[in-house]
Subunit: 387 residues, 2 copies
């Protein structure tokens, strides 16, 4: 794994939501240009695009060369990395591994997804491609349905109440109010969640991350001299991608998010940062239950206590460990292949003191956790303020 | 770029053609198992899947974790790399860069495509995703149509005859007769090409690579001790991926395959192998004209002379520089995302003396060239017999 130092020198992203007037390429280019503008002395040696379903969402593959050409950077090696909803975090991991090992000196990693051009049922089909076509899709289970089953099991086994389950969505919406790029910038109460329409029992509309268009990009470098603004460098301290048994029904314990547990453990070890040092974590709460189980897998909450701890304020902005500081997947939004890079850009802003109204005071260390499938793939990275 | 030594220690692939009884996962697993069996002491630290259109071909994304889980290797980091028809070569380049730089010590790289489950027009739509949805696809140009325009222009500008253009397909079919995994194992004459049905004027059926299912895999390692059978190691001497202006109509000279020229030049330089030392080259002849222009871009033929030289026997198995030693894209077959890894597996077999009836005597150095789009992305690698 990476032996030299790797840094994020700049980040850029679009706002998330309905972007009818922009194509998937427009979005990727907008985020990339913003990121590149922040590192004018760095010419990326590779361009890596994180994306899940441009084929069905935009009738487009070959995004790597297309984004590169549109940026006027023809010649630069480019490709897409896909790992379902963890495409963004995994694409970043590839770039980080290449830059950190010295295989290359710099990279632009951009995540993008165009979801709003699709009808809702098409989005469901696209997301279901994170699960096996031969088994899970074949029986008609949507991704929301699988997570509904998981939520029911979690609530029953762990004695989690409806309002407790709502605590992470409520927290997300609170944090998003001041986040300019967030899709939903209004605070909600547990009552809003429990009165929202049923999606997949017991999951309601406000348990589920929304459908939106967006793109987020970061510039990676191992050359601190080339990075223009020294005060704005974040160090990538460690990272890991892990997988587990593909579908949740194949696992011994559905409530144990093993991919996240493994990736988080490896990333912390490589970063040599104890868990207690983390000042904030960006958590992959595609569904409320997924956020809770993620917090448990990373050891912040005891088994069964993820939502309960959140309901007690542990993960709020002024709590013991702030999470989803710009609103997380539920309120900032979840443009699938871009989500991991939104998390990483937000962690970058936090540890470099550029998070504005969403700044966590004195944030020095941050982690991001990005899941594909029902924790089938997990990409975790740890960032620190550059010395 | 890679600083330590990287080797291929084994390869495995399926035959190419109609594989109605096998899913995309079955194919990837079959090739992967064969490759892993050849390197029993190596546990891959990453699994990288090269694939272009599993979403539209098999309603499946998240191939990385799915293949990994099906192989019983859950836990191992895994993801898909996509760069249109160069997905296989580009996935290999990512693995090679990670292993060669010491970021990881070993990787399994597997390319797979399932094309025969689709109707012909669906295949056309899938392949067209290598080109821009907003421009090229929008005007209704298929991938064959674009290459037809290119072929007409090439023939006119360079005074290339119908029979000269047929020389690479004829060469491919000759070489495939003894290749067990090839899709079409029978020799043809130029007359067969010129009498075959018109696909996109002037390109006829036998100018075009076929539609087929297949998967190919290699094991990469930087640990020669762990590789079980020392005599069967091939060294990866160098490699590069390059891009160019996205669509051919954006380029100053459509007949200059700049991505291939750049990638080939960089790969040779990194390998420190002069072009004259190469004993064979696997060329991306998705269409006859593309094979000819590729040979010109790599400097083996002068401008306009690619097909003409082939018609004089220069690239035949007993010629000056054998190409497509197992039949190339036209006769071995072109299961899109797998093609680059078939080329690499074939180069591995050649430089390790395991190519059987297709062996090029004394082959010491080999190159592979894998294109995405109309030479929009090109991935080139150079291999050598391990000392």
């Amino acid at each position: 794994m990476p032996k030299s130092k790797a840094y994020i020198s700049s980040a850029g992203f679009t706002s998330i939501g309905d972007q009818w007037d922009k194509s998937i390429i427009d979005l990727a280019v907008e985020a990339s240009r913003k990121a590149l503008k922040g590192s004018p002395k760095i010419k990326p040696q590779q361009i890596i695009v994180g994306n899940m379903f441009s084929a069905v969402g935009a009738s487009q593959e070959h995004l790597g060369a297309l984004v590169t050409s549109a940026l006027g950077l023809s010649g630069v090696p480019a490709y897409k990395v896909e790992a379902a909803c963890s495409s963004g975090g995994t694409a970043f991991n590839v770039g980080y591994s290449l830059v950190g090992s010295g295989a290359i000196d710099s990279a632009l990693v951009v995540g993008v997804e165009k979801m709003r051009d699709l009808e809702p049922e098409q989005v469901s089909l696209a997301l279901a491609m994170a699960e096996s076509a031969e088994y899970t899709q074949f029986v008609g289970a949507t991704f929301a349905a699988l997570n509904g089953l998981l939520a029911r099991y979690y609530m029953e086994q762990m004695n989690v109440s409806r309002d407790e389950l709502s605590s992470i969505p409520v927290l997300d919406h609170t944090n998003a109010v001041t986040a300019e790029h967030a899709q939903f910038r209004r605070a909600i109460t547990p009552e809003v969640v429990s009165r929202s329409s049923m999606i997949a029992d017991p999951l309601r509309l406000f348990d589920c991350a929304p459908v939106g268009d967006g793109a987020s990009a970061v510039v990676l470098t191992n050359d601190t001299a080339a990075a223009s603004s020294k005060g704005k460098l974040a160090r990538v301290l460690g990272g890991a991608v892990a997988t587990t048994e593909f579908s949740m029904y194949e696992r011994k314990d559905m409530l144990d998010f093993r991919a996240t547990r493994d990736a988080f453990g490896q990333a912390l070890e490589r970063a040599a940062v104890p868990r207690s040092k983390l000042d904030l974590v960006e958590v992959h709460d595609a569904f409320s239950v997924v956020g809770a189980l993620s917090l448990e897998a990373m050891g912040f909450s005891k088994r069964g206590m993820g939502s309960k701890d959140a309901s007690q304020g542990k993960y709020s902005r002024d709590g013991e460990l702030p999470i989803n500081t710009f609103g997380g997947l539920k309120a900032r939004g979840h443009p699938v292949g871009a989500t991991g890079l939104y998390q990483i850009a937000e962690a970058y802003l936090q540890v470099t003191g550029q998070a504005g109204k969403n700044q966590i005071d004195g944030a020095e260390f941050a982690a991001t956790q990005n899941i594909g499938g029902v924790d089938t793939t997990s990409a975790v990275h740890v960032f620190g303020r550059a010395a």
